[in-house]
Each structure stands twice: as C-alpha cells, then as structure tokens.
Subunit: 413 residues, 2 copies
Amino acid sequence: MKKASIISVGNELLGGQIVNTNAAYLGRQLLSMGIPTVSCYTVGDEVDLIVETLSWAAGQADIVLVTGGLGPTDDDVTRQGLAKFMGVELEFRSELLRQISEFFTGRDLKMAEKNKIQAYIPAGARALANNLGTAPGIMAEYGGKIFVCLPGVPSEMKEMFAESIVEKLGQSGEGQVVVIIRKLHCFGTGESVIAEKLGDLMRRGRNPVINCTVSGGVITLHIVATAKDKSGADEMIEKDRSELREILGDLVYGEDEQTLAEVVGAKLRERKETLAVAESCTGGLIGKLLTDVPGSSDYFTCGWVTYSNEAKVRELGVDKGLIEKHGAVSEEAACAMAKGAREKAGTDFGIGVTGIAGPGGGSKQKPIGLVYIVVDAVGQRDVQRYIFSHLREHIRLRASLAALNMLRLRLQI
Amino acid sequence: MKKASIISVGNELLGGQIVNTNAAYLGRQLLSMGIPTVSCYTVGDEVDLIVETLSWAAGQADIVLVTGGLGPTDDDVTRQGLAKFMGVELEFRSELLRQISEFFTGRDLKMAEKNKIQAYIPAGARALANNLGTAPGIMAEYGGKIFVCLPGVPSEMKEMFAESIVEKLGQSGEGQVVVIIRKLHCFGTGESVIAEKLGDLMRRGRNPVINCTVSGGVITLHIVATAKDKSGADEMIEKDRSELREILGDLVYGEDEQTLAEVVGAKLRERKETLAVAESCTGGLIGKLLTDVPGSSDYFTCGWVTYSNEAKVRELGVDKGLIEKHGAVSEEAACAMAKGAREKAGTDFGIGVTGIAGPGGGSKQKPIGLVYIVVDAVGQRDVQRYIFSHLREHIRLRASLAALNMLRLRLQI
C-alpha cells in the first residue's frame, strides 16, 4: 500500500502564530484516495533542516507532500531544500517567469524583483500551475519516491492539490485500495465505557479499524475500512455500523456530519412538534446550537435567557417564593422555567436549564458544574441533575448538549 | 539556547479528522518563555513509531513535549512508547489509581476496568496531576533531556501545562533571549486597510515583527519582540503598542486574550449600566458571547431569541402591523425589538438584531447576509444595516460581533 508523509515548512507554524490546518486537509484528502498518511513534520525555514526532514519522510513513505516556503522572500527556502536533497541545482524556467509577470500585470501591479526567485525549480522537476497566487508548485521523482511542494496559503494549496495532484496521485492510489470512513456520534456516557462495550472491536490492526475521539462530551467512533474496491469497503463499513449501533443502542445519536441539534430538529419536524427554551447558565448557547441548523424556525419559536432572578420571575412566571426557598439553581426552578417557556410560547416542549458555570458562585451544597435540566411536555416531565467538570466553557457546552440529548431520548419514545 | 520539540500522537491527526491545535498552543507558550520550538512531529498510535520519533526529537531539542495517547483505550500507547524509548518497564502507582478512582466517585460514576492502565507510568518518571480528567501526565529525564507527556484533550493539556510545566521549564529558559508577544485586536475594517495604515511597520525582518491574523471579522496584530532581557522586550513592545494604537484609534478594541464581549462588559460594569438583548437571526449567539464572560450577570439581565414573528410581537411588543408592512427583517423591526427588550427588562441598553442568515430565505431586495442591528438607549438609537458575506455560520458570528462592537463604540462616547 502506498503511503504518504506531510512536511509543513514555516517558523510561524513552530511558534504557533498559525495553526496548521494544511496537514489535516491533506491527511483527509489522501485518506479518501486510499493513501494513508504515516507521519507529519513541521520544520523551520532552514535548508538543511528541510533536507534532513525530506530524508526521514522518504524513509517512511512513497509520496512526500511539502507545504510552505515557496514565497518570494528570503525566508522561503523549500525549493533550495528540495534541490539540495535531490543533489541538483535550481534551474531558471522562463515560462514560469512569464506566468508570474502576467499575474501582476493582470492586476495592474508591478512585479517586485524578489518574485523572480519563484521562476526557479530543481533541475528535472516539473512546475505546477498556481491559479490563485505567484508561487508555482513543484513535483519531482527521486529515488523511486514522489515529492510534491505546494504553497503554504491554504486556498492556493487546496486549489493546486485539486487541480494538479489528485489525478496524478489517484493513479498511484489506483488498483491499490479504497479507504472509507464513517463516523458514529455518541452522547451520554464516557469514552472508557464505550471502549469496554466495544471490547475487541477496537483492537489495533483490525480492519476496519475503529478510532475514538472526544469533543465536548460527544464521543465519535471513526470506522475506517480499507478494501480493494468501494463496494468491499462499503460492505465492511455497513457490517460494523450495524454491529456498533446494536451494541451502543440509543447512545448513538447520529452519523458523519450530523449534530445533536440537527437530529433533534429533524425529529421535531417529522412529528410536527415545537420547542421553546429557557436558559440561565447556558446563556443562549442552546438557542445558538438549535439555530445553527438552517430551517430551525420550523420547530424552534422562542428562547429566553433569563440570567437574573427577576427575569425568571417576570418573563417565565417562576414563583418568587420558590426561588427564595430553593434558590435559582434548583430542580424546582428548572421545572418552573421549562414549564413557563412551554406555556408562554405555546409549544409542545419546553427546556429549562439552570446551573453554576463558575468560576465563582460554587458552594459545598451547590458546587461549580451543578446543572439542573428539565424537558417539559403536557403530562410528562424529564428531570436530570448533573455535575459537569472542567471549565466554564465546557460546563456550558456539556449542559447544552445534555439538554438536547434529553429531548432526543424523549422524542424516541 | 534551550530548544523544544513537540510530538503529537494520534491516527485521527494523521487522517485529518482533527486539526492539531495543541502543537500551535505549545509553540506559542514555549516561545513566550524564550524556548524556541525547532520541530513538530505527528505520529500514529504505534509504540515503535513513537520510540523512533522520540529519538529524532531528542536529537534536535533539549525538551520534548508529547501530547495525546494517554487515554484508557487500547490505541493509547504513549506511555508504552516512552517506557520503551527509556528502556524501562511501566510501573504501577497506587496513588494514581486512587486519584483516578476519586475522579469517578466524585462524579457518582463507576470507574471502568480500562482506566486502570492510566495508573501506570515508566519506572523513574514523575506523574503530573490532571485536574480535569483521568489521564495523568508524565515527566521524565533521560540522556540529559526532559520528556513531558500531556493529554491530547486541549483543555486538559493546557491546564496541565500551566500547572505543572511552566515553572519547571521557565527555569531552563532563563538567561537566554526573551521573546514577548502582545496582541492587539481590531474590529470594523478589513485586513488590507489595516496593512495600508501600518505600512512599513509590517515589513519582514523588523524587530518587533508584526504579524496579522484574521478570524470571524476580528483582525489581530501580533507584536513579536525579541531582546536580551525582559525589560528590553517590554520596552520595544510598549513603543509599538502605543504607535499602533495611535494609528488605528478606535479600531482597536482590546489586547491579548480580551474578547469584545469582555471589553463591552467591563465598560458596562464600570458605568453601572445594564443590557438586554433581542435576537432573531443570531439565535442566542450574542447572549452566549456575553455570558462566556464570568460575572456577566452584573450587567446582562435578560435575552430573548424571538425566532418566530409571533414571539417578536408577544414577547417584545413589536407591532404586528409593522412586521406586515416592513417585514421581520427590517430597520423598523430591529428598532422595535431593541426598544422592547430594553423597556421590558428595564435596562439602560437594548440590542436588537434581525437578518437573513441563509442558506434559504434571500431575495433580491433582502439578500442572504442582510442584517439590521440596533443599539437602543433612552434618547439615542444607533442603527446599522450590514450585508455580510460567506456562510450561515459566518454571517451569524459577524452579526453578533458587529452588535457588540456598536455597543462598544456607543459606550466610549
């Protein structure tokens, strides 16, 4: 199986002034073409470091993709690094200089002297057209491996990859294998519980391999199937997908790019039911998540961010005495908020959320992270008390997703 | 000069299912401590690859930071990799198991059998406390170099880095050069306008160097000063900071980690004034941004997400005839929403936002991206009509930030 390695060049990446999104993009694209990435490197703008890294990468992979360092300034030395690695000189290409000059004249700009260096590429290499900028890409074969240099600017890199590389690499991927990835998103338990439930299915070396990532309480299982052709991979994915869904039951809320808010919204639309939300500690985040979804006005009509006690009383009809007796962070307050929202908006469901997001305001009885969530409907009320960990941001996100998940489970009945 | 290398472990990083933000974060932190990062590596979840990469990194740097692969599942093999690299066995630490069990019992949860592996670290290494999760970190010295393993979950990684690593590494950075970075955040114009205003100040090779990044309409200038000591760097930063602020005026809303919502909130608190928000197309995002800030209950009392027309009429007293005549996306509706929110909540300011976030619902007269924003106070009303470009997510974020920025400019008067 052909493998790839990715090298990102740039001091600004090492210093963290820029997050490296290029490597992730290329990793995804290559994987979808059946070419797994086995390593990524980030190096500074120095010729000898680039040479050393090229040799490491070539030792691990058949295809080495390099991004960055093709610009016109003195700190751009990727072309010099590749030439030195290949043991050749840089060669002037008059047709490249013409293309670069045209880029400027087409924009009524004068080409700077500095840009001339971009017309040089290693002897024996092929230039790749840049439709969006001045830096041509470079493709070369050396020692039986393929080397591709792409610009560091993400839009230019993506365009060049799609235009000049996909087809070429598609051929090297051809006849080898197809890799298909499907994601299953779970909510409502921890990573280790899911790993225990899946047991041997998650062992390394299995095909499909099942990877697990966690973000904001959402646990995502990535089923990565490798097969000779698409139908083979599809079949393997389908088999695992059913088995995982069987084992995990209603812990799984969706697949691939689906969000909890989307799944809940689709169910509400299907049932022709509506929702109102009364938020305190989540401060509008549940409304934001619901309305991230286009067309959410079909089922979401109104939300309140009753941040002060007065607002809870005035807007949602929460009893003042109730807050005095039990506090604004209490099961009683959450129930009254959910009911108040539902009745006032005239919807089928009302969600009420109140809690302590921190960093201040916690006590022994009511610690930071304590959140009450209520899903209220005529004749039925679901109530949960949670203690979420981590920081304010996480507590708020977890509480918002937990509220949507409670409604999801309610809608499945 | 002491140097660092960063290794990120995880198949999901190689496959691009996750963008590697950890390496950028650590690169920034290390640079601010005077420790440049010379290389970053990403490797898959395999013991022998981790061992090989550790030896490359140790060949280039004095301090090797590893993130990821400390979880409880079978694909988490960083601890095994470090032990094999050091030529030692994994050692069970009963105090770690106790801490991990306590993490679960403190949350009324049962610890899974799988979590026990997290109580093992290489013989001779030191465990680092994880205040936010179950995976302890690891610190070890080997061959005169320092090795640090941190969790892959960004929040846990950051917390552990700040709590356990900064002080230790701060000592190793001492006496070298000092790099200080200060950020200025601007809102209300484009990147090229700012670049033109700054001119020669932004040239490469200058010290401090000024880099520019853009995110969600916020333009951030990074002033990066390098000097022999802290006071020298501080002086350079201070000079540039004043000059940039002088040139950019009220385009600059804040510095370093300040958000627009924080700046607006601090001003409201200082003036002892209060705010209510009526949102339509932003769906709760303004409330979310305001309440991201701890203590925002001091000035933010109530928000409405009046997503349906009925909710605008019923909750905010928007005239039904006005909506019929001008539409829900109109200057008139935004004014009525802002005034309704302010009067109903009894606050000093009311914000009203209505627009078309897309992807559907646009027309020639009212295109996707059209947003009306109003900041209402007794005797003064600021009204803006915007047409934001890009996708739904971007339009909603831009509209929310523009609303906060209008209030910021209002509060400076």
